[in-house]
């Protein structure tokens, strides 16, 4: 932007060297930028296009145009829904439902717990607050899950929670990044707004529900996105905790198919496309919030 504004003005020849270079530079740089970005986009988009096309192709033709390569590999020229039909006939729909249920529950229950804690950290003064924030939020944010994965598995196992919803759900509820996000947002709300309500005799819970929540739409969207996509994509914990067929989530279903001998590729890719399309559809309209979320959480 800054560079282009200089380039619109055609300088007369015979000026100093520096001024002469400006128009060329202003033209060449965005052009170079576009070229490199297009190269980047090819590397990102072509694999996805191939996978999407292959998922709509009969299984015996999945690799037909990829080798030798032709443009047909990127478009479903032999269009069929066979892969999707077979996939759902074998119970993939249940995995999708399970994952949705899990992700929505995480957003609602985890969102409430994280928002309450974020509010307390952002707005209350109480003894031990900083220590609590450091240990509960910061340490979990930074310290590896590996340390706790095995003992957590054993703990969940000792409760008899293997292959149960609570075993799947509860360990994913507390989310340091989301607490961070809420804290940051709540801390920036003007005190006057809260004081006014408090003077009118509103309780803290009431302040939270009827004053703060309505103005918190951006932070709620961002936090929900983070939690929903995080849970939708999580695979390791569900694989460990709920391997039973009826409880499998999308990622587990796909990951178990990857390792199988004689993989049906178009079905595997169809499953992957379903797993991919949900976060993509969420991220495109709400990208702004998501970016705010990951950039606004105390990183700067």
């Amino acid at each position: 932007m800054r560079v282009e504004s200089a380039g619109l003005r055609q300088d007369l020849p015979g000026h100093s060297r520096k001024q002469n270079r400006k128009p060329l530079r202003a033209f060449a740089q965005p052009a170079l930028a576009y070229c490199l970005l297009i190269a980047g986009i090819i590397i990102v988009v072509l694999p996805l296009m191939w996978a999407a096309a292959a998922s709509f192709t009969p299984n015996h033709k999945v690799f037909e145009y990829a080798y030798p390569f032709s443009w047909r590999a990127l478009f479903p020229v032999d269009f069929t829904l066979e892969a999707y039909e077979n996939l759902f006939a074998r119970g993939f729909g249940r995995a999708v439902r399970n994952t949705f249920f899990l992700a929505v529950s995480t957003v609602i229950i985890g969102g409430a717990a994280n928002a309450l804690a974020g509010f307390a950290f952002g707005r209350f003064e109480f003894r031990g607050k900083n220590l609590l924030f450091l240990t509960v939020v910061m340490l979990t944010f930074m310290v590896p899950v590996d340390l706790t994965a095995i003992p957590r598995y054993i703990l969940v196992n000792s409760f008899g929670w293997i292959n149960t919803w609570q075993g799947l759900l509860i360990p994913g509820l507390a989310n340091s990044l989301v607490i961070f996000l809420f804290r940051q947002f709540f801390a920036e709300i003007p005190q006057e707004l809260i004081d006014a309500a408090r003077v009118d005799g509103a309780t803290w819970l009431r302040v939270l529900v009827s004053i703060i929540m309505p103005i918190s739409k951006p932070v709620l969207v961002a936090a929900s996105l983070l939690m929903f996509i995080g849970q939708w994509n999580s695979f390791f914990w569900p694989l460990l905790i709920a391997p039973r067929k009826e409880m499998r989530v999308v990622q587990v279903e796909i990951s178990l198919a990857i390792g199988q001998y004689g993989t049906v590729w178009n079905e595997l890719l169809a499953g992957s496309m379903i797993a991919a399309i949900v976060p993509i559809l969420l991220i495109i309209p709400f990208q702004r919030y998501y970016v705010q979320a990951i950039t606004g959480t105390g990183l700067d």
Binding site: L116, A117, I150, A174, I179, L268, L299
Partner: protein
Amino acid sequence: MAVLTQKKPTTILEKLNDETWRRKFLRNVIIPWIFIAPLLLLHIYVVTIPAVQGIYMSMTDWKGVGQNANFVGLDNYRELFFEDETFGKALGNNIIWMIFFLTVPFILALFAATMLSQIKRGGMVYRSILFIPYVLASVVTITIWKNLLNPQRGVGAALAEMGIQGFDIAYLGRPETALMSIAFIDNWHFWGFLMILFLAAMQSIPPVLYDAAKIDGANRWDEFRHVTLPGIRPVVLFMFMMVAIWSFLAFDYIFLSTQGGPGGASEVIATLLYKNAFFRFEAGYGAAMGVVISIFAGFIIMIFVTLRRRGWDI
């Protein structure tokens, strides 16, 4: 409201009878803790108890099943560092992984963010597209790239067919290329995240600074070095720390693509830990690896904090 002249309550009974004190107590102690309680309970259950148990387990020879766990002190750690060659190899791979992720995605992201910040038209579209891989699940990314890197039907095979030989190798199946190929796939998914962070930081730099640099006769490189880079430095350094920590946790991409193979060529600590805990019935030994990873993470955080104290302004 209490009368102004009333003296401060001292004993517990007086305190409980004093309304001002009760209100204060409710407001400064009870309510905050009610707000924190759900999170705290979750945290104790998900992190605190397992962490303490993990540290204890790492000092036993527990198999992961049954009741007999004997306390063995630091034996597991001695074995890890002085006897177990696979652990040394895995640790080395983690360090290679860290070096890769502290350079490649950072350079790509800085570069792309700089380019994107110059573009007026369609910037949002480019940004969205480049960011898409980041929201894809590891399972999805691996499924796609396992095909593309396949020597018989992937990109290499297509190139060979066109006459460009030498790329149709089993990237994931050869010891020399396995780790770097997985790093490439993981990076395909990851770098957009850094790019978005850097771009947001760049856009928050006041344009005045660029104008000033231009008046001083700065070229693009000077601008980048003296305006852009200092402006985004906090984010870059913070991400350096996070990526360094995450490098020791690298798991899902490796587990899904090679499981650490061939022959341990792409083994990292986390995959080794998983195998020990769930396949080899060496839970105590696996837990010791978890503790080691945590110590590394703590060490990285300490370096970061120390540098900050020394006035590095990070």
